[in-house]
Symmetry: D3
Subunit: 68 residues, 6 copies
């Protein structure tokens, strides 16, 4: 499935922290930068996410702000 | 001003395309990846955004999905 | 690619309206309900979206509000 | 009150799961499809949400992605 | 209809600018502050929005960042 | 850093409630209105947010809906 979201940043999962309903997933991008994602615990289980997984950080362009 | 958004990806503006109210701004990240942002034309003018500018792509963690 | 977004509603494209940078895509869901999506013109071209296409409306759970 | 959000999908609450601050609410749409919403616990209490309630899943068009 | 979104800021419409698909609506809040909203042209027409209208700026708590 | 988000509403923190991963922060605006923000616990710690702090509620225009 191809998605309309314009941003797919490849990287590796470096941390998964589950809360009571929301989980935080840290992904290290190719550049060494890390990006944080907040998704549901259900999504973590459904994707069987664990440290070391190769993933994409997927972001809609309207959710990217610019700071200067 | 420090912001609660967890993701600040440094990069350079490589393209600015203004529509009638919404503009698309392409930012090349350190890793060579590009990320697309959709912001208002007013924001482009207010930040005086132009190609070559050093900027940050700012993204809330709840707006970052994971694909695997 | 499996996505962390929890909602994938199958349907058919019934209208595509391109603006200067943003396009509106109407999708008729199995139930006969229509759902409206606002994506970039670039995404419309990249997915080669046209009326009649079988698609999914993809929505993060944190973007779904409840009205009662 | 009429809302600018373009998508109002009618359905029935089939599950409410409260976390420490965020709750997950599953809504079965007319078509039998279910849609998941993540809202605050405060909203669940304020709307007195419970299984069996007739509700709308309310979604802005800019929050609907397309997958093909 | 009561909505799960936690923020309803009352105000008056002071400007409506339609683009090709997206419109910008400026609302003056009770405090004299103005807040900008980007909605679809269709929503502007559907709500018959015009300068002077009494409205609410409706915002989900997960869409409010904090700057300090 | 100047941000592309168009809305910066000044106010004072009146409550901070941490969940397991997500925190709710209530900000009283100049007008006496309160606005609720849902951010990560990590952001609360990073900004050392506490009751009485002078802050801004930062909101993208595409995240502001209109109700009439």
């Amino acid at each position: 499935m191809k998605l309309s979201a314009r941003n797919m940043l490849p990287g590796k999962v470096v941390a998964v922290t589950k809360g009571s309903t929301t989980a935080h997933v840290k992904v290290e991008l190719a550049s060494g930068l890390t990006i944080m994602s907040a998704i549901t615990n259900e999504a973590v289980d459904d994707l069987a996410l664990k440290v070391g997984d190769t993933v994409s950080a997927v972001i809609k362009s309207s959710d990217v702000m610019i700071g200067k």
